[in-house]
C-alpha cells in the first residue's frame, strides 16, 4: 500500500511542480483578472478586457490579463481584479471601458488605487473595506466557490497550483470501501435537490455484482432561476472533474459522463478544455497518476428538455431515447445506464467531494448542522439588490440570505415572497423568513431546497401570476408519460389562466387543491409530484390574492394584464412634455385639447413603456385595477 501511496503522491507532485513556476511568475508581476463567465460577458466583460489589453500595450506595460470565471457578485459585473505585487488585491465592479483604461493608467501604471471604483479589497487595505467587512462577508463561507473568479478556468496549472487534484490523489491511495466510508461519515447530501446521502448511493453501486459501472455528473440545470452549476462549470471545471474521478474511483466505474444543458455553450467549452488538459496530464485515461485505476469521461449535451434533469430521464436521453422517466426501483445505482450500475450526482455535490477528500469528513461537519452538514449555494435573482451566488452554511436563515447577503429588496420596495426551488418549489412569505434553510425545514414550510434558485418577489409581483408561470412551465415540460401530470397540469393551468383573466369561479380554489393532490399521487417522477407545489404554497400563504382576482376581478399587485389599465393622471401630466407619446409602440397616447396626454384604452397593449418613460418628477402614469376604474376616474376628471 505504501508503494502505491508514494507513486501517486509523486506523480501529483511532479504535476504540481511543473505547474508552480507559471503560478509563481504571476505573483511577480501585476496581474489583471477579468470575470468573463456568461454573466460577466453579458454585462460587457469582453470589450472591457480588450480595452485593458489595448491600454497596457499602449503604455508598454507587461502585465498578464487573465480571463477568469465569476466570483458570485454578478450584480456588479463586469468585475476586474488587479493584483499588484506587495499590495492587497483590489476588486473593481461595474467596470466600463472608460473605467478600465483609468485603472490601467492610474493604478497599474501609477499609484492611485482608484478607490471610487473599488468594490472591495482582498486583504486589509487602508481605504477600501474587504469582503469580510461587509455584512454578507460575516455570513458567507466559501468552500466550492473559493477559487471561482480567481483562477483561470482554462488552465489546469492554476488549479493544480491552488491544491487541485490532491483529493483525487488521496482517494486513489484509499481502499474504495474506506473512501465511501469517509463520504458517508461526512454526511454529504445530494445537492441536486432531493438531499439523498451521497455515500449511501455510492455504496449501493459499489456492492453490485456487475463490474461495468458508470458515473454521471448531472449538469442539466434546468430550473429557471438557478445558475450555480453553470457558474461552477465556467469558473472551475477541474473541481467538478476531480469530484467525478473520485466518485468513479469509489464505485469502480470505468467511464463517466457529463450531461450538460445545451443552453450552456461556454460551460461545455470550458469543460471540454478541462477534460483534454486532464487527459494530457495523466489525470484521466489509463493508469491515473501512475496508479492501476483507469477512467475516462465523455461530455454529452442535453437538448433542451427540463425533465432530463430527472435521473432516469437523463439516462434515457443518454441512450438516444426521448427523455421519459422510468419506474424506480430499480434505482440507477443498481441498474442505470444500459442497465449497468450507475451513480448520478449533481455538479455541486461532486464539487464538495475533492474538499472532503483533502480535509476530511470531520472538517466538513464543522459547518452546518448534524443532519445537514456543509454549506449551501444559492442563486439570488429577481427583485434583490445583490443578485448573484451566495455560499452560506446550511441552516442559515432565509432572512440572512436575502437581507444580509442579498442586501434586501431592490428599489426600496417591500418584500413579498421568496420563490425557492424552481418549478417544483414554493413561495414563502415574510412570516417564515426566520426558517433555517435546509432540506428538511423547507419541506415543512411548503417549498423545497431544489437546486437552490431563489427568486425574490416584491409588492409588484402577483402571486397568482407566479403560480401560473410555473404551471405553464411544468405543463410544457411534462414528458407526457403519466396521465395525471400530462392532463392534470393542463387543467390547473387553464384554471389559473381563467383566474388571471378575471374569469375565475368561486369553486376554482377547491378544484385546484383537489387536482394538486391527484397529480402528486398519480405521477411517476418528481416533475409531476412537485408540479402543484407553486400553487399549493401560494394558496397557503397568499389566498387573499386569489380571492381578489376571483371575487373582485382585481389584481392587487397590478400585474395581470387583463385586470389592469394604464391611466394618465391629468393633474400630474405636464403639458410641455410628451415623452410618453413617443415611447408608445402602438400610438395609443395622444394629447387632448389642453395638451394633457390621454391613453386610448382600446389601443393600449399594456407594455409598460410609457410608465417607464414618464419623467420621475411627474410620475403621471399609474396602473389601475380593475380596469373599469379608468372610466370612473375620467368621469371625475370631467
Amino acid at each position: 500500500m505504501s508503494n502505491l501511496n508514494d507513486t501517486v503522491i509523486n506523480a501529483l507532485g511532479r504535476l504540481k511542480e511543473a505547474a508552480l513556476p507559471e503560478w509563481q511568475a504571476l505573483k511577480e508581476k501585476t496581474v489583471i483578472l477579468v470575470g468573463a463567465a456568461t454573466c460577466g460577458r453579458a454585462a460587457g466583460a469582453l470589450p472591457v478586457m480588450q480595452t485593458i489589453k489595448d491600454e497596457l500595450a499602449r503604455q508598454s506595460i507587461d502585465a498578464p490579463v487573465v480571463e477568469v470565471g465569476c466570483m458570485g457578485s454578478c450584480y456588479a459585473e463586469p468585475i476586474v481584479v488587479v493584483l499588484k505585487p506587495g499590495q492587497p488585491g483590489l476588486v473593481y465592479g461595474y467596470v466600463t471601458e472608460g473605467i478600465a483604461s483609468r485603472l490601467v493608467l492610474d493604478y497599474v501604471a501609477g499609484d492611485d488605487p482608484c478607490v471610487e471604483f473599488a468594490l472591495a479589497a482582498l486583504e486589509t487595505h487602508e481605504m477600501i473595506p474587504t469582503f469580510a467587512d461587509y455584512p454578507r462577508g460575516q455570513i458567507e463561507q466559501k468552500v466550492v466557490l473559493e477559487h471561482c473568479g480567481f483562477i483561470d478556468p482554462e488552465n489546469i496549472n492554476h488549479y493544480l497550483a491552488a491544491g487541485g487534484y490532491a483529493g483525487l490523489a488521496h482517494a486513489l491511495t484509499l481502499p474504495p470501501e474506506e473512501l465511501i466510508q469517509e463520504i458517508k461519515a461526512s454526511g454529504l447530501r445530494g445537492r441536486g435537490g432531493a438531499g439523498f446521502s451521497t455515500g449511501m448511493k455510492w455504496e449501493t453501486c459499489r456492492k453490485q455484482a456487475e463490474q461495468t459501472r458508470y458515473v454521471i455528473c448531472n449538469a442539466d440545470e434546468g430550473d429557471p432561476g438557478a445558475f450555480m452549476d453553470r457558474n461552477i462549470l465556467e469558473s472551475n471545471p477541474h473541481l467538478v472533474l476531480e469530484g467525478l474521478c473520485i466518485a468513479a474511483c469509489a464505485v469502480g466505474a470505468q467511464k463517466g459522463y457529463f450531461y450538460v444543458r445545451a443552453e450552456y455553450p461556454l460551460a461545455v467549452d470550458r469543460l471540454k478544455k478541462a477534460v483534454a488538459q486532464a487527459r494530457d496530464a495523466g489525470l484521466l485515461g489509463s493508469g491515473i497518476l501512475d496508479s492501476s485505476f483507469s477512467f475516462d469521461v465523455e461530455i454529452f449535451q442535453g437538448s433542451g428538455a427540463f425533465v432530463c434533469g430527472e435521473e432516469t430521464a437523463l439516462l434515457a436521453s443518454l441512450e438516444g431515447e426521448p427523455g421519459l422517466p422510468r419506474h424506480r426501483p430499480p434505482f440507477p445505482a443498481v441498474a442505470g445506464l444500459w442497465g449497468k450500475p450507475t451513480v448520478i450526482n449533481n455538479v455541486k455535490t461532486l464539487s464538495y467531494v475533492p474538499y472532503i477528500m483533502k480535509k476530511g469528513a470531520r472538517w466538513f461537519r464543522e459547518t452546518g448542522t448534524p443532519d445537514n452538514p456543509g454549506t449551501a449555494i444559492f442563486a439570488l435573482a429577481g427583485k434583490v439588490v445583490s443578485t448573484g451566488l451566495a455560499e452560506v452554511p446550511m441552516s442559515t436563515t432565509l432572512r440572512d440570505v436575502i437581507f444580509e447577503v442579498g442586501s434586501g429588496v431592490a428599489e426600496g420596495k417591500n418584500f413579498k415572497a421568496v420563490q425557492i426551488g424552481g418549478p417544483s418549489g414554493g413561495c414563502l412569505p415574510e412570516s417564515v423568513l426566520d426558517t433555517a434553510i435546509n432540506f428538511d425545514s423547507l419541506n415543512k414550510a411548503g417549498a423545497i431546497m431544489g437546486s437552490g434558485g431563489m427568486v425574490i418577489l416584491d409588492e409588484d409581483d402577483c402571486m397568482v401570476e407566479i403560480a401560473r408561470f410555473f404551471l405553464d412551465f411544468t405543463q410544457k415540460e411534462s414528458c407526457g408519460k403519466c396521465t395525471f401530470c400530462r392532463l392534470g397540469t393542463k387543467h390547473m393551468l387553464d384554471i389559473l389562466e381563467r383566474i388571471t383573466k378575471g374569469k375565475g369561479r368561486p369553486e376554482d380554489l377547491e378544484l385546484l387543491t383537489e387536482l394538486a393532490e391527484d397529480i402528486k399521487a398519480g405521477s411517476l417522477c418528481n416533475l409531476g409530484k412537485t408540479a402543484p407545489n407553486p400553487i399549493l404554497s401560494t394558496l397557503r400563504y397568499f389566498r387573499d390574492e386569489y380571492e381578489a382576482h376571483i371575487h373582485e376581478k382585481r389584481c392587487p399587485a397590478l400585474m395581470c394584464k387583463d385586470l389592469i389599465a394604464f391611466y394618465i393622471l391629468p393633474e400630474k401630466c405636464e403639458r410641455s412634455c410628451d415623452v410618453c407619446v413617443g415611447s408608445c409602440p402602438v400610438e395609443a397616447i395622444y394629447p387632448n385639447e389642453d395638451r394633457i396626454k390621454v391613453i386610448k384604452q382600446d389601443k393600449c397593449v399594456k407594455c409598460n413603456s410609457c410608465l417607464v418613460a414618464c419623467p420621475p418628477q411627474y410620475k403621471a402614469i399609474v396602473k389601475l385595477s380593475p380596469p373599469e376604474m379608468v372610466a370612473e376616474k375620467e368621469k371625475v376628471a370631467k
Partner: protein, 171 residues
Amino acid sequence: MELTEEEKSKAIAVSRKILAGCERTKGNLIPILQRIQGELGYVPLPAMREVAGYMGLPPVDVYSVVTFYNQFRLNPPGKRQVKVCLGTACHMKGGQIIMESWERRLNIRAGETTADREYSLERVACVGCCTLAPVVLMDEEVHPRFTPTKVDGMLFAHGLTKNGEKEGEGA
C-alpha cells in the same frame, strides 16, 4: 413549411457527410442530430430519413427524438435568431412584455420565422443570466436588461447594416 428542392438536397448532403464513419449505436443518435442541426440550423424530414436509414432505425424513432427535445428545429431558422428568455427572473422583470414587443414588430408568433427568412423568434427557458433580467439573445449575443423600446432600436440598427434594406416595416 414547404422546403425548396435546394434545401432538401442540402439537408441530405450534410446528413451523409456527418453520418460517414459514425458508430451505429443508439447512444450516438442525439449527438448526430445535434451536429446536423449545428450545420443546417434545423433537422428537416429528409435529414431524419437519412439518419434512420444509416442507423437502421424506423424513421419514427428518429422523429420521436427530434420532436421530444426542444432544442431541435423542424423549420429553417431566420438569418437572425431572436431568443427571448422567459425564465422566472426574466418573467418577473417583464420578459413576456419583451416577447410581445418582438411579436408585434416582426408580426410573427414565438416559434415562427418571418416570411423573408430574416428573423426567427423563439422563447428560451433560462439562459442562466438571471441577474441581468430581462434578457434577449440575438443570435448568440446576450442583451441584458432589455426594454420594449430596444426592439425598435435593434431592428433599426440591423436594417442599417443591411444597407438600407427594408426591415419588416411595422405590424
